[in-house]
Symmetry: C2
Subunit: 250 residues, 2 copies
DNA sequence: CGGCGGCATTGATGCAGATCAATGCTGCGC
DNA sequence: GCGCAGCATTGATCTGCATCAATGCCGCCG
């Protein structure tokens, strides 16, 4: 199931500004991820205008938001939950290129086709924009374009870090870097804790790090045995940050 | 040696518009990579203005254009030659995240620090811009910013392809994809041929593909033995494109 | 509450590619 | 034209992670 094209949505016939069911708040103005997201570049009046073309959606786990190489009909702002972004080979091998957290923007490149597939890992809330409407909105707002560009530059930088990780680091280093990275990202969006939520499966982690599920499991078990981490349901508690940084530091 | 900061250049004291020695042509207007580069988005009058803040430079092989995490004083347009872009780990392991060819822009993200190190593989010609001047130039030219953003989106997409390659493909698949990819890129900039120039060393190729020099060598030798490619000095001739695509197709 | 399905862990074995080690090739300075 | 330095090739061996194969765990549904 895809929510991107066509608009399989109960409010498809209503005017866009009515599409607020599912939104956690009353609009962009008090959106809880606004200050972390591309929208932080916008003035109150611009936010109002954005409200008019935005549509809040809540989707259950495993929902496909869009698929690799499909026409990019929508772009999204993630407001809650985790989204996996991946590329696949014809034979089924998969590489997850990133996990999108609240505040992340999907479709940053503004290209006419999606470069990756996006699936909800757990229950996810997004702010959806029809791409053409969003493009029109961006047009004439160079500060927003600048902000989108900044985000794209940041994504590119993350992608390059991930290349270094995939090409040159050992399994333990990959796991350590992943855990530290997720912790940092959660901290940035206001969730500072030594317990890192990992709503995704071991298979997802393996496909993100270029490993197998068995190697992920074994490596985590070993780190747990060495009291570097504590494995908890749907997450990991980081016990020995120094030791992790020794392996995972960039 | 770095040419980025400070300006180690014989014309450092001259006005910028005089800095044309080393430029292959008379200016942006008849720059041979203009139509492939970000500059294709510019009007003649804008090109003239760009001329005034640009500085053509020719640098020998192995020159460092800029270094990872240094302050980004300049941005560059590559007009000739090949540039390797890489990230390093403290212990010396290296991952090349890309090879920049003529028409490619370095510093696309416009961030205040470089995310990678850039080194000339062979003799390289670049068009250099002081970053602050370039930012000022971009400011008020949303169509150029749009173009830069498009380029960044394309780079991001390439980076994600490379992640899939690094994380999930075998040595032979990596080599095949690399060769086909380089051929396509050379074709796009006007050099259509089954002989792919490879000015970079085996070590560079290995560090790009997440392999060792020995594996690169062995894999190429095997492909040559099977008459899929013919190894020539500083390049490879692709003999059996179908067979290569079987391994390397995305 | 019991059985089933999906995921994770753990163990045994295999192998692609790394590592270690010569040897060969080529271009350049003298 | 000789010798050297740097790169590439080739061969022998090793190993980290994949693969194959149970087994365990837990939530869910009847």
């Amino acid at each position: 199931m895809s929510i991107a094209e066509p608009l399989q949505d109960s409010c498809a016939g209503a005017t866009r500004s009515d599409c607020r069911h599912g939104r956690a708040t009353n609009g962009c103005e008090d959106c809880k991820v606004r200050l972390f997201s591309v929208c932080a570049a916008l003035e109150p009046s611009e936010l109002e205008e954005l409200d008019r073309i935005s549509q809040a959606k809540q989707v259950p786990a495993r929902t496909t938001l869009f698929e690799q190489s499909a026409l990019a009909g929508s772009v999204f702002n993630v407001t809650d939950g985790v989204v996996r972004l991946y590329k696949s080979l014809p034979d089924g091998r998969r590489q997850i290129v990133g996990f999108a957290l609240p505040g992340d923007f999907l479709g940053l490149a503004l290209q006419d086709r999606y470069g990756v597939t996006a699936e909800a890992v757990n229950e996810v809330a997004v702010c959806r924009f029809v791409r053409s409407a969003f493009l029109a909105y961006v047009d004439g707002k160079p500060h927003l374009l600048r902000r989108l560009h900044e985000f794209a530059g940041h994504e590119l930088s993350l992608a390059q870090d991930q290349m270094l990780l995939l090409g040159r680091r050992s399994a333990e280093e990959k796991i350590a870097a992943f855990l530290l990275n997720m912790q940092t990202r959660y901290a940035r969006i206001g969730s500072v804790s030594v317990t890192v939520p990992l709503p995704m499966s071991r298979q997802d982690i393996a496909d993100y790090l270029g490993l197998t599920i068995e190697t992920v499991s074994r490596t985590l078990t070993r780190l747990a045995r060495e009291k570097v981490v504590l494995i908890v349901p749907d997450g990991v508690r980081l016990l020995d940050l120094e030791r992790l940084k020794l392996s995972g530091a960039s």
